[in-house]
Amino acid sequence: MDLSAINPILLLASLMVAATPILLAAIGELVVERAGVLNLGVEGMMITGAVCGFIVAVNTGSPWLGFIGAAIGGALLSVIFGILTQFLLSNQVATGLALTLFGLGLSALMGQGYIGIKAPSFPDWHIPLLGDIPVIGPIIFQHDPMVYLGLAIVAATWAFLKYSRAGLILRAVGENHEAAHALGYHVMRVRMLAIMFGGACAGLGGAYLSLVRVPQWTEGMTAGAGWIALAIVVFASWRPGRLLLGAYLFGGVTVLQLNLQAAGAAIAVEYLSMAPYLATIAVLVIMRAGRAPGSLGQSFHASR
């Protein structure tokens, strides 16, 4: 094994890139769950976003339009989930699982003519001045804009939940929907908006895989990233700060194990592949301090 083949700066730099898709999907799901809805369809929305983004980007030549298309695609898929669970009161767990299966199939169908094509390139930002700082510059300030957009969404979500009136109402709806209804808040409206935000974020996360990370379209390319996003939300105790930590930890260990594999570490590949999952879960379980929103996963019907 040749550890010197691993460049620590490059390693840390690719950590942020590796974490971004999961971060985007997870922050969306966090908002959905804080509103009291458990959407297990993250994987399906991610892959739908990945294919929508890829198709739009290839046809327009613009990765930015691709990301917008991905967000719309993910949100549209989530609307199906929202209508089924909020208006038709179907079971959220079953509907979410179905959404994942549906999304995987739908994306395979949509992406048939796009296999093997390369996505239009999405250049990295070289942030002036900050990007020139030695060591820190390449690690933090020389990425593509989506990395920073993802961070911005996390920060905005944190501030929204903590400081804004609308965020307070969203948390209230998730905490006790009966009481929120009694006080005159629109439980279904809040939840539909949250579900759509979650869908759009999952779509962005998926498109980051197909447009930046890989960057091409293959069937089933999210490969479980949506499930990791779901797990991170729970283990992060529904808090944006911990969620960021969890996503970066997962990204970091993923990149590290890939590097170790490349360097020919004397550990079976299977163990290395396990490492990111184990490390993320272990750390977040140890840090875990919080409880689920009170109405999480329950259907609401204003019957009384």
Binding site: R165, L168, I169, R171, A172, E175, N176, E178, A179, A180, H181, A182, L183, G184, Y185, R291, P293, G294
Partner: protein
């Protein structure tokens, strides 16, 4: 006569299968304290929800200060000056007091300002409350203060209060009434819903009685006796529990210096509780919520284990035994919280019966359930305790609070315990059901069982107890014979108004 603040004319609301309100009409004047009386299911809740904009009436009209009042949602009702304190607290457990209050306001100022206002109003009305505490860790009494202060911050013209005093001590009630009278003198009308007729007699100017959705009478509560009002509500003569005199029996349960640390951060530690309870006795334990009631029940039921000698049953140390072992020897308990603690809401009544009766009623053999036997037992409870439900296959959740309470108390009584511990046996239960539950407890004691009744309803304790003791910060006072105890003496035993001061409103 001036134009009333609120006039209801011919309000009717029907749900599939039931008419909740039928042609209800009455008026509330500005500054009037108006009582709304009726049994569970008489349509009081539907009526106040209509006024608060949560329910749309099928027909009928409301006018507020002379103009048509049709609130499409609570927001509109609040904007028009109607505020409501809910019976089942509409609070958010994971949020702090200030956030909960902000959610009930139309245009809340920033959190810090709310915190300051909460401190001011809570000081002004003698309802101490820390705006930064998380609501999930507050006692029932404190939660109610949150609800009340949430309403007061909105300067309402009409304040609707649904069962506000069920968790307060006499002193706290007195202070609340001072607050309400002050508000009424300032011109705020109050629509007051309660089962406690004596309270209505001291507080209210007028009363409207509902039965099965219809107005069956109006009266001046100050000139009408509680019994007359109760009979108007029920429609028949009211049965008052009768207590038979009986000699003191031998000691069946003894607590020896029972002490236990607080089970969670905002719980209460039990301190050095020593008392003997004899056969055939009803021991009433009073006290303000959060003074160790839940912990005492947990220590007696076996949910919280203590040192073996601290709890002795017929001379045997049992402090270390788990709940089922205690049930087996005859020590049964019915906790306060019906939904989720005493009963699993989504399981059928038969299944709920199995949960506690499994051991004593022999409902299992080698781990297999006797469904037929369990069903018969559940049917027995339903029949003997007049639980109104289509049958034992119905989910516990589908029962009204009073009916479920009759079921969970009846379930324990039918197992013929030697000692029965009940916590708040008639909370939120209507007058006739409460009388039935109390009578059942007395009958059980008459058969030789010891009953420990923990309650915040002092009238109830005075009615059924042989001896009375008070819990205060986890300490139990020396018991005194209940006969002849006055409200003032009880107040002193409770340690005065816990954490309270008299309202000093500078109006």
């Amino acid at each position: 006569m001036t134009e009333p603040l609120l006039r209801l004319t011919g309000l009717t609301k029907a749900y599939p299968g039931v008419v909740a309100n039928k042609d209800v009409s009455f008026e509330i004047q500005p500054g009037e304290v108006h009582a709304l009386l009726g049994e569970n299911g008489a349509g009081k809740s539907t009526l106040v929800k209509t006024i608060y904009g949560l329910v749309k009436p099928d027909s009928g009209t409301m006018t507020l200060e002379g103009t048509a009042f049709t609130p499409a949602e609570p927001r509109a009702a609040r904007a028009a000056g109607v505020a409501m304190v809910f019976q089942h607290f509409s609070l958010f457990d994971a949020m702090n007091v200030a956030e909960n209050i902000a959610l009930g306001m139309e245009n809340p100022p920033p959190q810090r300002e709310i915190a300051a206002q909460v401190r001011k109003v809570s000081d002004q009305y003698g309802l101490p409350l820390d705006p930064d505490r998380v609501v999930g860790e507050l006692s029932a009494g404190e939660r109610q203060r949150v609800e009340i202060i949430r309403c007061l911050l909105q300067d309402p013209k009409l304040l609707i209060m649904d069962e506000p005093t069920s968790v307060l001590t006499p002193q706290e009630v007195a202070i609340l009434f001072e607050t309400l009278k002050q508000l009424s003198a300032e011109g705020t009308a109050i629509l007051y819903i309660s089962h406690k007729l004596e309270e209505i007699r001291t507080l209210c100017d007028n009363a409207t009685v509902l039965r099965l959705g219809e107005v069956v009478g109006e009266c001046d509560p100050k000139a009408t006796s509680a019994r007359e009002m109760a009979e108007l509500m029920v429609g028949t003569k009211l049965h008052v529990p009768e207590k038979a005199a009986k000699p003191a029996g031998e000691t069946v349960l003894a607590l020896q210096a029972l002490s236990a640390p607080a089970p969670h951060q905002f719980g209460t530690a039990l301190r050095d509780i020593t008392i003997d309870i004899s056969k055939g006795e009803v021991l009433g334990i009073g006290g303000v919520a959060g003074n160790g009631q839940d912990e005492l029940v947990a220590a007696l039921s076996g949910e919280m284990r203590v040192a073996p000698d601290m709890v002795q049953f017929q001379g045997q140390p049992i402090g270390q035994l788990p709940p089922n072992a205690r049930r087996k020897i005859g020590l049964l308990a019915a906790p306060e919280e019906r939904m989720g603690h005493a009963a699993a809401p989504d399981m059928s009544l038969t299944e709920n019966a199995i949960m506690t009766a499994m051991t004593r009623e022999n409902l299992t053999t080698k781990g297999f359930l006797h469904w037929a036997k369990a069903r018969r037992f559940a049917e027995g409870v339903i029949k003997d305790f007049d639980v109104r439900t289509p049958g034992p296959a119905n989910a516990a959740r589908s029962l009204s609070g009073g009916n479920l309470q009759k079921f969970v108390i009846g379930r324990e009584i039918l197992q013929a315990p030697d000692v029965l511990v009940v916590n708040q046996p008639t909370w939120g239960v209507d007058a006739s059901a409460a009388a039935a539950i109390r009578q059942a407890l007395l009958d059980l004691a008459a058969k030789g069982a010891a009953v420990i009744c923990i309650s915040q309803d002092l009238d109830e304790l005075m009615e059924i107890s042989d001896r009375f003791a008070a819990l205060n910060e986890g300490r139990l006072s020396a018991p005194r014979p209940a006969q002849g105890l006055t409200v003032e003496e009880i107040g002193l035993m409770l340690g005065g108004a816990h954490d309270m001061e008299v309202a000093h409103v500078d109006a």
